[in-house]
Symmetry: C2
Subunit: 135 residues, 2 copies
DNA sequence: AATCTGAGTTTGTATTTTGAACTCAGGTAG
DNA sequence: CTACCTGAGTTCAAAATACAAACTCAGATT
């Protein structure tokens, strides 16, 4: 987990990934949303690409030259649960008057939440969880 | 969620909280585990306390003076799901040869995992999730 | 030929981080 | 009483990072 912390433990990185989850994938769009300095944004994007969380994908809008889009890789999409859990926590405990967001099924609109479950999918109280070495 | 990112978006903060979840609560123990510089550790601990994620609690070992322990508050314990999701991701996608850890029920030892569930607790594919404004 | 745009790079300054040394309070040994 | 030890910090100068603003570059538009 220290490795994961090394990847995500950065102010901008978390925000960049949030953008990516929202579907923003262009440099200048991110820069405008986040108001991040260009050099820092470039640096963080490169580092996420080199870590395999984002990938650069060429795209072309008609009548324009080829550009690069930054999109989540399979590994990057795997962070969705972590982000949803974080968003859920933020909403429950930070409540800085920010827009209250919730997680919902994108098709049915049914409310969803992140939970700890056992092998059969039955929810379990998080207080019961412990990290275990496996072997 | 930007607020949450502001709290957690820091290399040391994530590691400090991991220590807290492991039950380490003394300044010098954290310092030794993390090899963090003293001034940085002091700064991050204070900031976590002021944000209500940790609290300072006085404790006394017999034949010694009173000292402060840093323990998770209710809000801090609420981050458990986020951390478990992150650990699960790290194990699945970072796999840097680090110790493979899993989440298990601390009493029964049964393996657990973090999952997205609907209102009835039925697991749902994370790809179906979308952040929604509520109101 | 001049201008615009997205996506960077460069650069010089401001802010943070770091490690090493110092402090302080209370406990223990001689 | 004096000297020394320990946990938990402060202080401080040096090194690393982040920042804003200006510059670059390639292809599209006027």
């Amino acid at each position: 987990m220290a490795l994961a912390a090394g990847i995500l433990g950065d102010r901008w990185t978390l925000l960049i990934l949030r953008e990516a989850f929202y579907g923003v994938c262009r440099y200048d769009d991110m820069r405008e949303d986040l108001k991040a300095p260009r050099s820092t944004l470039t640096d963080r994007l490169n580092s996420l690409v080199s870590r395999g969380v984002l990938e650069k994908r060429p795209y072309q809008e008609t009548g324009d030259r080829v550009r690069q889009a930054y999109v989540l890789t399979e590994a990057g999409r795997g962070l969705a649960l972590t982000f949803l859990a974080l968003a859920q926590w933020g909403e429950a405990h930070v409540t800085g008057g920010a827009a209250p967001v919730g997680v919902a099924d994108r098709e049915t609109g049914a409310p969803l939440r992140v939970a700890l479950v056992d092998a059969e999918g039955v929810p379990v109280d998080p207080a019961r969880a412990a990290l275990r070495l496996r072997g």
